[in-house]
Amino acid sequence: MSATTKAEETEASSAPPPETMAWDSKARRMVTIYLPLACFLIILLFPFYWMTITAFKPNTELYDYKTHNPFWITSPTLDHIRLLLFNTAYPKWLMTTMMVAVGATVLSLISSTLAAYAIQRLRFTGSQYVGLGIYLAYLVPPSILFIPLATMVFQLGLFDSPFALILVYPTFLVPFCTWLLIGYFKSIPYELEECALIDGATRLQILRQITLPLAVPGLISAGIFSFTLSWNEFIYALAFIQSSENKTVPVAILTELVTGDVYQWGALMAGSLLGSLPVAIFYSFFVDYYVSSLTGAVKE
């Protein structure tokens, strides 16, 4: 790779037209930028394409590559989706997942907004250590915690209840959201709050009427991120939920649709597709918030 680019580069720079920059010639851009970029896009999107096309393929085409090109469907069918929606508890799983994701998001948004406000704006001795502690909490992965949490959940009598998930998900949502919101609060001029203080506003009035409205983009970022992360969570949901009707979509697809030795690949793919759609739609509305929160949290 590097050898060819070097060769091209020297070639391009040996005879540059005086106006354009030597390294900006069209053919070179084609080979070094668009071609690799196209490869990346194809590879990154292929599993989604494959998922979609499998979900709409009738079984006769699905298992017969000799007569049907696997990359296309000759007679698309909704059988797999119908099977999923009417013969399994899929709608129920979707509802449970939605409820858990919304519950966990609301809980973590409230607590992390308050925490971020306290750390960033009510500066007190040791506030940066509290911030650091919350940051460190983000580095504790769920894989270490699920076994002790399972015993706790059992003792609290919340085993097999979606409520347990709503309580547990904030452990990875709160650190992230707090960190994100600290960054947002930092960008709001402190003078605004000082003015309000001089005008006799109480701290709560300042938070509600000045800081929060200005931090709305940050709140949206934190909210959609929390929602996505809770929707995608797997290991806690797998460990804490046993009964079929309380499962979340990712867990249910892997444990309920995979039965015995015969996999219903069409239904599996349809389930994956439908389970991805809510986050994907959500994502398409708020792309910029996602990108800014992702990069903002990393930069903080």
């Binding site: 494959w50 909490a137 992702l294």
Partner: protein
């Protein structure tokens, strides 16, 4: 009329008292921090301690255990499956991180050019990272299917192979397949975060270097890379931690098989702890991940300190 006046007066008195209490800074700080710190203390710090304690007991599901000292660890250290999981965790993390960062950096550099539809492109690229891991893992499971793998079909059609590729039925191909799936999922995150870092590098540096007659490699080596290093260090720490403790991908595609060859520490801990019910043993395996994570966190801390030093105090 009188009812409205009482209804008006009473909350006002209450509010005054409440507002005065809430305006008292120590109390306000306490109230604000309570939900977050409370949640984290109860569901994160306490379980972390409980997990370490469980590792020294013989707890099983439904029976609280008693202290057995290092017995779990002794058993674990003699268990070839455990050592295999340690090996695969390190190997998986190492290879996947190199792959993710190599390709992610490349993609970020590509995206840093002037391109049409840049934001749309960025949105599409982030998609694999947004969609639930398990669901894409199921898609990979189907792509890796021994009989109906579309990759096998393609290779056979192109005349590169005669038989189906064996992706997940023997140890080494299964390991490489899992690593490939992990890299696929990790590239977007790395690329988009590094792209954010690239965009903060001032173009004037490149102009100056161009005037000095630098080559593309020199510009990358002496400008892009050093300027990117702080953000690279942070993203890499996160990536290493979450790859090392990965669970979903392996559980969805191979469940640790064939013959336990693709167990990561997390999947092994789950298998021993939850379905088999040996909570003590599972906790011991999970706890054995901690030294590694401490190391990665220290790495992150020193990278952050270095960044402060590089940027000066004004940029806090």
């Amino acid at each position: 009329m009188s009812s409205t006046t009482t209804g008006w007066v009473r909350p006002k008195i209450e509010q005054n008292w409440l507002i005065r209490l809430l305006d008292w800074k120590p109390f306000l700080i306490f109230i604000c921090l309570l939900p977050a710190i409370g949640l984290l203390a109860v569901f994160l710090t306490y379980p972390l301690g409980l997990g370490i304690w469980l590792a020294f007991t013989d707890t099983t599901i439904g029976r609280s255990g008693r202290w057995v000292g290092l017995e779990n660890f002794e058993f674990m250290f003699e268990d070839p499956i455990f050592w295999n999981a340690v090996f695969f965790s390190v190997f998986y993390t190492g290879v996947a991180t190199i792959g993710k960062f190599g390709l992610g950096l490349w993609l970020a550099l590509l995206l840093n050019n002037h391109l049409p539809f840049k934001s749309l492109l960025r949105a599409i690229i982030l998609l694999p990272w947004i969609v639930p891991t398990v669901l894409t893992a199921v898609a990979f499971w189907w792509i890796y299917n021994p009989q109906f793998s579309v990759i096998s079909w393609m290779l056979i059609e192109l005349g590169l192979r005669d038989t189906n590729v064996d992706f997940i039925n023997t140890a080494w191909p299964a390991r490489w397949s899992l690593i490939a799936a992990n890299i696929w999922r990790g590239i977007p995150f790395v690329a988009i975060s590094l792209l954010a870092g690239l965009q903060t590098i001032s173009p004037s540096l490149y102009e100056a270097a161009l005037l000095d007659g630098s080559t593309a490699w020199q510009r990358f080596r002496y400008i892009t890379f050093p300027m990117l290093l702080p953000i690279l260090a942070i993203v890499m720490t996160f990536s290493i931690i979450f790859t090392f403790t990965d669970f979903q991908l392996v559980y969805a595609i191979t469940r640790g098989g064939p013959v336990n060859s693709t167990h990561l520490l997390a999947t092994l801990a789950f298998q021993r702890g939850i379905p088999a019910g040996q909570l003590g043993e599972g906790a011991a395996i999970a706890v054995s991940m901690i030294p590694f994570l401490v190391f990665a966190t220290l790495f992150s801390y020193f990278a952050l300190a270095r960044r402060k030093w590089q940027q000066g105090e004004s940029n806090d």
